[in-house]
Symmetry: none
Subunit: 361 residues, 2 copies
């Protein structure tokens, strides 16, 4: 049972962890060398300021929420001050941090390295939110020395914050985040970097696509230089493969321009296949199309229309796996896209049609 926690580092991640813990009644002590961050985090209810040099009896767990380069020293300091019985961190790279912590003499029995996979392009305590980790993976990388009680406490911490604990070796973690986070960040920057020299007239044509692709390129270059610098090998591996794919696509387009065939369908197909592998509900691929059947139901825009629809779906005993609304403001009719198990689609469509709904698909 985590009753009391200390969070060292009141930035986006530390403050969000503190807020989540507070929602579960955990008493939280906060520390940050930046007095303004600390004051703001306390003001928004993330906890009470503590002086690490005089923090009283050890808390159940201490979280070092600091940049990768700072974590080992901050952890050592926290352990020497006896802040808690158990320690974790939240740095987004793990192998280097763990090796350095061991090298400088941190107690590895009470330390369970962690990485909650929540984040925003904003930073600082003002951007913190208690649901930042809700439903996100929370990687734990316990070393061989880690005690079972320490692992249990940090696992509980992750769950209290709404995260899904996932155990991984530090190296596997770093390769994984290179693939799904660090290299995509650099790719986003590479797309956005092209816009620097684009004509204003061209930039005006930007739609949602390029906005989405370049959103994370808006992140703090200093922070990301540090993150990437702590994970250089795995990130370089992925970037090299991406660069080869893009150069190959350019070459095939040149061939098409010369009329010597080409076609770049291959990279687009591989891209869609890769995109489909991003997990969604219950760890299934996010795109439900492979598993579920979609029914489009025309929906009058009036109070209770969705209620009536779902009441009738519920009465038919059918579970809706996913629902999307395609609804144009000011338009009399909307569409509800219902994803259901394939075997339920036919009977459900028939039953809804019988009750006067217009059903497609």
């Amino acid at each position: 049972m985590i009753d009391r926690a200390v969070v060292v580092g009141a930035g986006l991640i530390g403050t969000s962890i503190a807020l989540a813990l507070r929602e579960h009644g955990v008493r939280v002590g906060l520390y940050d060398p930046d007095a303004r961050n600390l004051r703001l985090a306390c003001d928004i209810g993330a906890g009470e300021a503590v002086d690490p040099a005089d923090a009283g009896p050890p808390a159940d767990v201490a979280v070092v929420a600091a940049p990768p380069a700072v974590v080992p020293r901050a952890l050592l300091g926290a352990q020497r001050a006896g802040l808690a019985h158990v320690y974790t961190d939240a740095a987004s790279v793990k192998a280097g941090v763990v090796a350095e912590a061991a090298r400088i003499g941190c107690d590895m029995a009470s330390y369970v390295p962690g990485h909650p996979m929540g984040g925003r392009e904003k930073s600082g305590p003002a951007a913190a939110r208690s649901d930042l980790f809700l439903g996100r993976s929370w990687v734990l990388c316990p070393t061989a020395e880690a005690g079972p009680k320490a692992v249990a406490a940090v696992t509980e911490l992750a769950r209290l914050c709404g995260g899904e604990p996932v155990a991984m070796a530090p190296d596997a973690h770093d390769r994984a985040v290179a693939l799904v986070s660090h290299a995509p960040h650099v790719a986003s920057s590479a797309v956005a970097a092209r816009l620097v020299e684009g004509e204003a007239e061209a930039l005006r044509l930007s739609g949602q696509g390029v906005r989405d692709v370049t959103r994370i390129a808006g992140g703090d270059p200093g922070l990301w230089t540090e993150i990437l610098g702590h994970n250089p090998g795995p990130v370089a591996d992925v970037l090299e493969a991406m660069a080869a794919d893009l150069a190959g696509a350019a070459e095939r387009l040149r061939a098409e321009q010369r009329g010597t065939g080409g076609g770049i369908r291959d990279i687009l197909e591989r891209g869609r296949a890769g995109r489909d592998r991003i997990p969604g509900k219950h760890g299934e691929p996010e795109r439900a199309a492979s598993r579920y059947t979609e029914l489009a139901v025309v929906l009058p825009d009036e109070p209770g229309a969705l209620g009536r629809l779902f009441a009738e779906v519920g009465a038919a005993g059918v579970n809706i796996e996913d629902v999307r609304m395609d609804h144009s403001p000011g338009q009399p009719l909307g569409l509800a896209q219902l994803s259901v198990l394939p075997e339920a689609a036919g009977p459900l469509a028939a039953s809804l049609k019988e009750q006067g709904w217009s059903v497609h698909g």
Copy 2:
């Protein structure tokens, strides 16, 4: 004054144009060689089916909303059938389409090539929405032969659909969309293609960042192969520069790994600068959803849960403007994100909480 229009092609773009025109009282005739698409588009109120061979007197304007390879022939057919006084298209590449239309003998005086810059990763009439072009640029590429009345009519069409008419030469258009749309699409695919061989454990760590970067990679590979194949030179130029940036970043990370300096802050800084050049919300009305307040309701994964929720929302007399489902992988609970009018949010939250729902936000 556009009083009557014909839309040839009832896919995402054509149906969205038709819906937007209908909101302004324009009578819309629809045609699509795919009878199912046509029926669905008519059913959601986009217009009435017409037979191009027997369409009656010419409409004020006809829109050929077809893939680039199809536009010239479809335009010629529409002109020969006398569908309208003025013609436009919506193909996302222009130079090749315009040249081919002229070559096969289309009437270039009544044809004003166009490209509305709205889209979604979904296709087909079910995904159409009347606000797809709201605040988006709508490029017009009138040739020297185009009559002023034709240009005026197509400009009015763009405005009726909520778009911002922008005049550009076909070549400048194609270079611009290579930069802000076509090359970013390939880059998104290159990021997503890396995920094909990633371990499932790694994929589980996917957060919002990689989801955003790879969203457009979910688009139809066939359609995009065609789009890119019509704009090979300008796209290849951008892809080559991106590939060089990524290869350079990988090289610098390798140097950092060897301890010989490096650091990839440069590409991150350039990326942020480029990202900042994407025009903001000025002159671009916020998407309708942002007028609403979001409530997050925790949802047990069982038949009828959504039905019960929506029945209770309906009983409260509240209209749901939009709904999104956030499912967390491997977690028994999902989140339904309900968008409602701001003044309805407080009372609805209170009423749902009273009935035992866990409501956030």
